[in-house]
Symmetry: C2
Subunit: 207 residues, 2 copies
DNA sequence: TCACCAATGTAACACCGCTATAGCCAGGGC
DNA sequence: GCCCTGGCTATAGCGGTGTTACATTGGTGA
């Protein structure tokens, strides 16, 4: 088996290079003009290929975008991985909240792509991201400090952080708005057990 | 001055009827296929007009959509007006939270149009809606029970309710999820002063 | 009555996502 | 060494989109 495994055949290499060129062009365009403004023809021009090539490799405009979004999720995950979280699980959750908002502010178009309001597109990478948040909440539960059930707590925290990030991105808020910390601390305080008292409030939860 | 004021001239009446036909067709289409799927030509077919008529009256596809969105805000506001809120301002805020989510669940496409993540479209009707929320929070402040500054409290509450509604609409949650009440109560509890103490919170607000 | 002008239609432009078809050419069997 | 196969790419085009220049009509104010 001479060069069958060690090196890619020249055809495969060229094909892979074409895929990369297309993905790079698409990502660059998505970051600037968004999914709405993304045109296959413009991707073609930037990548130096023609339309059938794109459709051969990715099948669809939506699939091409989904592929780029997956890369965005990877980038998003690394934004967490590259920084050290506090050891205390509660402080780590607060920290994650800030990183989340920070990322959305730094990559508004990517954020919109990943968590935009297009009807339920449960990408695997998105679910993995959600699972990362669940693990952080679980760390609090493991420390015996989580008040509500795990799933409820995770979902509630995710909703709050998403609401805040959405508003920051839409420039409704300035990034240093005190309301951000207000939402963050409201959620964290509600999630952890108070001090000694188990839980007192029973106000009507369902409508 | 015979029929100058008492009755509209026939031309104006016809013109207004045309506008209404276009708006009705557009609203119906927007509710079913969303802004993305809305086609001027389809609106033309349903309203029984041709394209230049639409452009003459509304100027733009975006302007037409914006006009429909304004009507949506009016509908949204009436969803609040037609129901009696609790007298207690804190309970009224909790109630507003539920009505908000309820409306988003009942009119997901309209909600996406109104509060979707398109980069900052500060429609007057949208600002009026936000102002309605601010008044509710101000009622709590007037009762001497609001802990944070008014603007921060309003913004935080709005972010939380928007995050929850977004997730409910995207079918990430079921409408009776316990997490909804969790976010609601977390925000309300954080907004009101604990017991008798005027204002206490000093937790790290800026990052 | 009559000229004006708002309102509407005709036809077209430039662009879009997408694809049927055909050609190129590296790779592998003979 | 040759030819054939098949993956990859380009040409050209389809039906659709938002938008607009231009022509036309018919109420309306003078």
């Amino acid at each position: 088996m001479p060069a069958k495994v060690t090196a890619l055949r020249t055809r495969d290499r060229e094909s892979e290079a074409t895929r990369r060129a297309i993905l790079d062009a698409a990502e660059q365009l998505l970051a600037t003009v968004g999914e709405q403004g993304l045109s296959i023809r413009e991707v073609c021009a930037r990548a130096g290929v023609t339309a059938p090539t794109i459709y051969h490799h990715f099948g669809d405009k939506a699939a091409l975008v989904a592929r780029v979004v997956d890369d965005c999720f990877a980038d998003f995950a690394s934004a967490f991985a590259h920084r050290a979280a506090p050891h205390d699980p509660v402080e780590a959750l607060r920290w994650a909240f800030d990183r989340y908002v920070e990322y959305g502010l730094g990559h508004p178009t990517h954020y919109r792509l990943m968590f935009g309001n297009r009807p339920s597109r449960p990408s695997p990478a998105g679910l993995a991201s959600y699972d990362g948040l669940r693990r952080r909440v679980m760390a609090i539960a493991d420390a015996g400090r989580l008040a509500p059930p795990l799933e409820d707590a995770t979902a509630a925290f995710w909703a709050a952080v998403h609401g805040v990030t959405s508003l920051v991105i839409s420039e409704f808020w300035s990034p240093d708005n005190a309301a951000i910390a207000l939402v963050r601390d409201a959620m964290v305080d509600q999630l952890i057990t108070p001090k000694p008292v188990p839980a007192r409030r029973t106000k009507g939860a369902s409508k």
